[in-house]
Symmetry: C2
Subunit: 462 residues, 2 copies
């Protein structure tokens, strides 16, 4: 899919500098905004019926985990339910997925994302091989299935094939389920190259699973290969999600994970540190100063009992952030942003925590604009603001919706983010093209039917 | 409104003992279930098209605060944003509300509650007087307005007129805004008596605002007067929400708030302790053993930065709980239950915290059934389970919805509570009568229009 050249007009629009009235967006045939005029009359353009804000890039998703949502909230008989027992369930699930199922889940998930206001997704894709290991005849088979799901839904995609090679810090054998994840570095680079630059709305980038799954030498080889493919492309890594991981990293290297990464690798604005939950103040300052984006996934981090990210220190150090739906148990950028802030309030016992660091916008707009800008950087695409040379990825909010009624620009996004105003989302556009209208996606009936069949197959096998 | 005598049949139904198939509910003309048959054929009864679960009683609401949602997420220029600065904003809002506005807000809020799966509400109603003080010609004027809103929406109501008399622990003058709250004890009892037992779905109970707003002697008088009106009726109190409140209570009495209450008042199963966030282990054990319901309001407690309730200790001591939407910034029993559990996970860094204490159900069903039973007790109405002599307050979930597809009874409510399956709610019934069908309420257009006008008036005055 490419964009649709168009002239879009809206009565109210959230630009990086704040709200503007009577805004005309000239969009070219790649879906990029080429010119913005404010104070413009409606005239004979395509009218966007409400307040227009940037669509939210979702910077971290494992699409197939959507199908596990609701299946891991009961004890497997273990003494202690935690991230690691959840991971065992996930591995047993991973052992069965077919390529057709992967595509059906991704297509449905991405329609749900669009309907919730996510206009793009960075898919951290680690499922590469057939069950038990070996290779598909095309090693990019499953990556292409995810991309086909994105194509069917019409969501912007940065597919991040994941390098996953080891069973622990310093190297170690993989469990049987992990055989689906393992690639040689050159195979991994081949998948990245096969999908990079596919279209103006679908490309690829790099992901290193974690310090426990990639040895330093492989990491160096992978980054060198990637630089030859995408010299400016994004690099993602899971880091410091669990305290046990921090302890194991220290036992291996004498350093904490973020400390090791900052010492050992040239982390810069291309990088997204996913989770980064467990950092010292010094790590927080250094990581924020590196320019890396913090990839925060509040609903999944809460579901998995990870802990609370140190947001005030990160923002005070000028750190960039974005949000991801990660395990896809919840699919709503508003829930992610609200609970990013709320978890801080619960711990610190005060209000407006992110707001303290983010004038001049009110908190809702500050969180939304910050996460959109950071998320776009994490995707490596210009899709994080309503500005010239940025994509026309847009949400249209119904200002007549009762939950937004009466709110002027000062508080409109506070009402949007902090209340149950989800049904105020009238239109979703990706690269200028309308993909959701009044809660409906044109392809959803067929996509839902395939997803329903897939879920029935998967749950029956459990 | 009373109920509609009917025979309701559903393919799958969540009884207190677990899921049953082919369930026939005989409902009488008060909306009460008189007989339940399982394994019954559909025959010529009213068919409920999906999985039926109890509707959720909302045990704590301040209706008018719905209109403030989204207006308090920006700094008022104070050095520190917290509960107390939020309260100042709320007081300035309270100073202006007219009776017509109170009714319009309540009607709209209650429709939204029904659409989210709340079938009843305990309204903690402290707005009694005209702006600045004095009395309406009928001192129950605003209470009747809230009840009229409930009538228009068709939600079950326990209206809790609130006794509020003092500006601090040990007594003290009220701020000007608080003059709208103050009643003599006999006036307060008169409002309770005027609204108690109005219909099978609308009644009244007692609320004491807090230890800082009611002196011990007034509390004793109020409870004595209340016992003469409703000898079995519920009693609610805000308690131990804020650390500052704990410190002030200790300075006044030498005791912590929950400690003072348990020592000074015969707390029993009629009582609901709203918040009870700050308790010692000893207070937790004693309060749970008293039989009181913990009135937990996770989204508001997070929004206000209150802190995290000690759920594991409460459940281990056999404590009852329910959930409330309180300030009504979020309106979704699923978000309340999910984040009740998630806040625990974030603090304890493990999963299935409430689940550890609540076999044999999976976590979603355990949380739902527990909160429904506790919430019904807090309302003082038999509306917390699908059982004989309980109200037919029912939700019908669409098991073909993609988020529930494939899930059997074991995990259906895990998917309902933990994922974004909100649109799976096909029908909502109160006292057997259908009030929401496929997301629509028959009166919503008129109710929305009035609410929209009210919001426009209120926000313009800010």
């Amino acid at each position: 899919m490419t964009g649709a050249a168009d002239r879009l007009w809206c009565p109210l629009c959230l630009l990086p500098s704040g709200w503007a009235e009577g805004v005309l967006l000239d969009v070219d045939d790649t879906g990029t905004i080429r010119r913005i005029e404010t104070g413009a009359p409606a005239a004979a353009n395509t009218q966007l019926p409400g307040a227009v804000i940037p669509g939210m890039p979702n910077l971290h998703s494992h699409a197939f985990q959507r199908a596990m949502a609701g299946l891991t909230e009961r004890s497997g008989g273990e003494e202690r339910s935690d991230f690691w027992s959840w991971r065992r369930t996930m591995y047993s699930f991973v052992g069965r997925l077919t390529p057709e199922q992967v595509e059906a889940i991704a297509a449905h998930l991405y329609v749900e994302m669009l309907k919730a206001g996510y206009t793009g997704v960075a898919e951290f894709h680690y499922l590469h091989n057939p069950p038990g290991g070996g290779r598909y005849s095309d090693p990019a088979e499953l990556a292409r299935r995810v991309a086909a799901g994105a194509e069917a839904a019409g969501i912007r995609l940065t597919l991040l094939p994941v390098l996953y090679r080891e069973g622990g810090f310093g190297g170690g054998p993989l469990a049987p389920a992990q055989q689906r994840f393992r690639l040689e570095v050159d195979e991994w680079a081949g998948i990245v190259a096969a999908l990079a630059g596919a279209s103006p709305t679908r490309t690829a980038g790099a992901a290193l699973h974690s310090l426990r799954a990639v040895l330093p030498a492989d990491m160096a080889d992978a980054l060198a290969a990637y630089d030859a493919i995408c010299p400016e492309g994004p690099v993602h890594i899971h880091i410091a999600e669990q305290e046990k991981e921090v302890a194991e990293c220290r036992a291996w290297s004498g350093l904490r994970p973020v400390e090791w990464l900052l010492d050992g690798v040239p982390v810069d604005r291309r990088w997204t540190l996913v989770h980064a939950t467990h950092m010292t103040e010094e790590e927080t300052r250094r990581a924020a100063a590196s320019g890396a984006v913090a990839g925060l996934c509040p609903t999944t981090e809460a579901n998995l009992g990870d802990g609370v990210f140190a947001l005030p220190g990160w923002l005070a150090a000028g750190g960039a952030f974005g949000v991801g739906s990660d395990s896809n148990v919840s699919l709503d950028p508003r829930e992610e942003l609200r609970w990013l802030e709320y978890a801080q309030r619960l711990v610190l016992k005060r209000r407006l925590v992110a707001g303290d660091a983010a004038p001049p916008h009110a908190l809702g707009a500050a969180l939304w604009l910050g996460a959109a800008a950071g998320g776009a950087r994490a995707m490596g695409q210009a899709c994080g603001a309503i500005a010239e040379n940025e994509a026309a990825d847009l949400l249209v909010l119904d200002t007549e919706h009762p939950t937004l009624a009466g709110h002027g620009p000062d508080t409109l996004l506070d009402a949007w983010v902090f209340t149950n105003a989800g049904s105020a989302l009238r239109e979703v556009r990706v690269a200028g093209r309308r993909v959701v209208e009044d809660g409906h996606h044109p392809g959803e009936d067929a996509i839902r039917a395939r997803y329903r069949e897939t879920m029935t197959e998967l749950v029956q096998e459990l």
